[in-house]
Symmetry: C2
Subunit: 667 residues, 2 copies
């Protein structure tokens, strides 16, 4: 009897249950070792995940960035051990058993929640509930966009999501499913961990929605399965794959902490270690007689076989890619865009330098886009139903519709949060650069997703217009005052507030060049004077610069951003009449200025008294001001009135700035 | 023939259409006069609103704060002229025709969007879409809560909402309708302005939801009506009032800009003046031959008669109230609570002063609530599914359920945004003080509603725990770093970050005393030492104070908040060993400190070198620091690891602070 034959006798192909138990055991062991984490979800969904990975998911652990892989998004990110166990079992590089033993420890790949970039196979950062589901809409949309450009032969993947009750309770989920249903993203398949338990107890404490009906109402196909019936799960996924007319919800009835004799089905299984006793009892109940973190060979082999099944599929695809045209290859791999961007921006700046009209920076932004969009097929524009106001659509755009994924403009609807999360998903595709617009005040509606753009280091460009009381009559609900400071507080975000046409083009250039940092473009509603005509150097790149040098010795420095730079320039002219020499510093990006050498910062800021001017609150300005310096801006909410009246009322005028400057110089 | 008879002959009772046309005309005239605004929605919904006000709404313009009035919430706040027109026509005090002529002008009552407090009859501030609908859930919930306490005889009102497509696209709407459906808020009636138009164009550009099915899935009753069939509208509202088993959606099929010959049904009617020509044509089409802002007597009289119909209803109610028990009267009118609060806080502080245990400030908060809740029946607690973690529920709480509105604790579900908006609605009741918990990082999810708490000056208390990297293993997605600064940037918000038990009790006292300001209580996950045993004075009330005075001359000042005050105190002890005399300043509220006289601020901050310590970003601290001062905190996102390890890694330790202080003193 050969060894192989002997193996067949002693180790029959493990069942789905056996393979799922490996996930369960790893999850409960890792959480126990960390003395922290969420065992309940991985244990409850282990069978569903096993069927998904063994029967459906197209992936190759050796090529985790394969453009045509199926995406697996764990929206219920607290169940991170489910993902880490799967990555380990299927053989993703680096996801060793030691990483699992180091779950939630400093420097491990196995953070408390899945962190994009920590390890191959983590498709997106999840944990804040609903975000993964909403990212997945962007990922699934990217698939359609890319397929429309390079053909289904090269791009044809599914996006699978595991979402929990919490994901579905978050409002962002509605924006996501509504958008996905509208766009008929039929290759998006959501597996809902329907376990009827949330942290406070039974979900019946707080929710009575019929999710099947809810998704149906948004144009989804739906199915229900027993989360422990592998045949039914496989059949449901197969049926979903076969019918791509609409996105799919598969409700999987599960038991949280499945297998734990005393905690299964209870909220106590959700977010804390099961404890040594319960783990022992669970091992017995599951008939899993192995030591902690020990996966027996026959089960590990079966899992690894699942992982290596993708080798050939990938190789076949790579062969197809090798015969594809250059444009398709470039789009899939990520084009080199620097030259095209530079040319488009140069063209814009030349045109703007010759244009003496007063225009809103949102209009300058649109005029910049008129040049950028044809040069960059990667750009996917959009707006949360403020297209005309945001100036996000150009004559080179076609709307994305279920019938036309060759389009390059998304009508996101009145869904700022869903838009931002979808843009994160689009950026993760590595093939597209998403930008989307709304009013600056509504960054509040999408802030959790902006934060994830920053944390995931994704190039998402937020075109945020109507950036101050300059919005006027709509009043304080629509006038940002705290938002510039509040956005500047987020790590790894560029908050650009350009002053005129040239700066707007420069900030667009910087935003596109920032491959690992999202950008906010804060743009005015109201017209501003064009201040610069020099074009070749990107002066905004240093974050702040002298837009008007003092005449001779500097008596006072006026610091401003955006629409208030024009106010400062006017104030400087006013001061010149009194023989006061004012420097005007435009500061389109605090972040880039902060990154300059101190000597440059000192040169720009100077020793003279400083007056900072911005139609927002002072908070983020104190970094650049000394105790004796002054701030001209807002200290409370705005009001409803024509913009000019408001600037007058709140004292954000050249006359008032000049007065303050005179006092500062005199004192 | 008497004059009265003559009137009957020449002026028959005006039709709903005639009365609605008064709204239409005022809306288009006011928008035209302002050269800004949204005529389309008021013109489209004028008939529905007319039927609501004439047939159903219980109100008395002479007593706009009547506790048992029906509430009318214009969630589609851009249609503010609908509300202003109704308030004017029905005779609300102060809403003169001149106010309408001053629409959107500085200082008028008629702001671009309805602003709570600007005029009687404006029930809540709306404009940011979805907020009104979600406020209304809190308002309708308040009705049930109050009725359960004082009886249906005294409190029995309906809450009516007009919501637009935008409201329903926002994710917050799902949280709101899901919560309302779960709680079976059967006296909430939403009239959906189903006009199929949004700003970008037809709603079919971005949304395909079946709203009737969607609401049904969340446990609502639904109906559809033609928005220009008064009989059908009246019948639908009547049916809805008769069946209070579930909340109601009445989908009203309308035409945006109804009556405007060339713009009706188009997005061009949404957000800009119709223009003189189109207004002229509309007057003809509507057979409305009157001058701008001119409402003919017979129509105005009919409207005023609708307004005065409430006089008797109110009088009857007032009579019933006069015979009610003192407790009911007090709850309805708003109890004087100062004494009860002072006693509960004093009791807590006495107990805490004697308690030497290390506890998390979230635990101190819970222990404070154990005293406050029985003393304050007005307190309505809750959490977005983090009850145990937030410490928001005490032994004095009973859960609010559809069967028990006598409860005082709301399981809001995983719906931070819906919770915050509902709390705004509860606060607007004037009978309750709402507080609700989630993790501090998730203030991002509810920021638009926090902003409205501030703008509306509502006493909403946000119990935001896990307030730093001290959260530990859950990692950067759950660790706030920018949030303290970002929240401090919002005008009219108190951001309290107490250091220990006594301060936590003091901050609760201040939050409850802040009748016109919402509060954030930022509380630690991890245990902190109890630092104070003095109890009688509320030292937190000045925002910052010396929690540890220097021994002799002050060499250095350590400024800190929350869990880092303990670090500072420990560092001071360390420094004392080197003969360095450190003052430690606890700064639980920047806002209250900013309000102190400069002399007090200078005394506290001192002239010695300052080291600020907070496990967040520096931004909001620069206000208190000079260029030579130092900040010890975060400059980027956190990481997943045990909390102790993280504080070590990021250098937020007594040892590191002492090092920095030594360098500062030496230099």
């Amino acid at each position: 009897m050969s060894k192989a034959q002997s193996k067949v006798v002693t180790s029959p192909a493990p069942s789905v249950r056996d393979m799922a138990n490996a996930i369960r055991a790893l999850a409960m062991d890792a959480v126990q070792a960390a003395n922290s984490g969420h065992p309940g979800m991985p244990m409850g969904m282990a069978d569903v995940a096993t069927v998904l990975f063994t029967e459906a998911l197209k992936f190759d652990p050796a090529v985790p960035s394969w453009a045509n892989r199926d995406r697996f998004v764990l929206s219920a990110g607290h169940g991170s051990m489910l993902l880490y166990a799967l990555l380990h079992l299927t053989g993703y590089p680096g996801m060793t058993i030691d990483e699992l033993k180091n779950f939630r420890q400093f420097g491990s790949k196995t953070a408390g929640h899945p962190e994009y970039g920590h390890a191959p196979g983590i498709e997106t950062t999840t944990g804040p509930l609903g975000q993964g589901l909403a990212n997945a809409v962007g990922i699934a949309l990217s698939e359609r966009l890319l397929a429309a450009r390079v053909g289904n032969d090269l791009i044809d993947y599914h996006t699978y999501v595991i979402a929990g009750d919490g994901c579905l309770m978050e409002g962002i989920s509605q924006e996501a499913i509504s958008l996905a249903g509208h766009l008929k993203l039929g290759k998006l398949i959501v597996l809902w961990d329907d376990n009827s338990i949330s942290i406070d107890g039974a979900t019946s404490l707080s929710v009575s929605d019929n999710e099947i009906e809810r998704f149906t109402a948004s144009g989804w196909n739906t199915a229900r399965v027993d989360g422990y019936d592998p045949t039914a799960i496989a059949a449901a996924i197969k049926a979903a794959k076969a019918n791509t007319s609409r996105p799919w919800l598969i409700a999987c009835k599960t038991v949280i902490g499945y297998g734990a004799p005393n905690k299964a089905g209870k909220s106590s299984a959700h977010g804390e270690p099961l404890g040594a006793e319960e783990i022992k009892a669970t091992r017995e109940r599951l008939d899993w007689p192995y030591q902690p973190f020990d996966v027996p060979d026959h089960i590990l082999s079966a899992w690894r076989a699942v992982g290596s099944r993708g080798t050939k599929v990938y190789a076949d695809w790579a062969k197809r890619l090798s015969t594809a045209n250059a444009e398709a290859k470039a789009l899939i791999g990520g084009r080199k865009i620097e030259t095209a961007v530079a040319a488009a921006i140069a063209e814009a700046k030349t045109a703007f330098a010759a244009d003496t009209a007063k225009r809103a920076t949102r209009v300058w932004s649109q005029l910049t886009l008129e040049r950028l969009v044809p040069a960059l097929p990667e750009l996917i524009g959009g707006s949360a139903d403020l297209t005309g106001s945001n100036g996000t659509k150009t004559k080179h755009h076609a709307s994305v519709t279920p019938e036309n994924f060759a389009g390059n403009y998304v009508h996101y609807g009145v869904r700022e949060h869903g838009m931002a999360a979808a843009m994160n998903g689009i950026a993760l595709s590595n093939s597209f650069i998403p930008y989307g617009g709304t009013f600056l005040v509504f960054t509040d509606y999408c802030r959790p997703s902006i934060r994830l753009s920053a944390l995931m280091q994704q190039r998402v460009i937020y075109v945020m217009t109507h950036d101050s009381i300059g919005l006027g009559e709509d009043g304080p609900t629509h006038q940002p005052v705290e938002h510039l400071s509040a956005l500047r507080a987020i790590p790894n975000v560029y908050v650009f507030r350009p002053a005129d046409g040239i700066e707007t083009a420069e900030c667009w250039e910087l935003a596109i060049a920032a491959k690992r940092t999202p950008s906010i473009l804060a743009l005015s509603r109201q017209a501003v004077p064009n201040l610069r005509s020099d074009g070749s150097e990107n002066r905004s790149a240093k974050g702040a610069y002298l837009i008007k040098s003092p005449e001779g010795k500097r008596d006072v420095t006026l610091l401003a951003t955006g629409s208030e730079v024009g106010v400062a320039v006017e104030a400087a002219a006013e001061l010149a009449k009194s023989g006061i020499s004012a420097a005007v510093v435009s500061m389109p990006s605090f972040e880039l200025f902060r990154a300059q050498p101190e000597s440059y910062q000192n040169d720009i800021l100077g020793e003279a008294p400083r007056i900072a001017i911005e139609a927002g609150v002072a908070q983020s300005w104190y970094e650049w001001l000394r105790k004796s310096d002054k701030f001209v801006g807002m200290s409370g909410f705005g009001a409803s009135a024509p913009a000019g009246k408001l600037f007058e009322h709140f004292g954000i005028t050249a006359v008032h700035v000049a007065d303050i400057a005179r006092q500062a110089v005199a004192s």
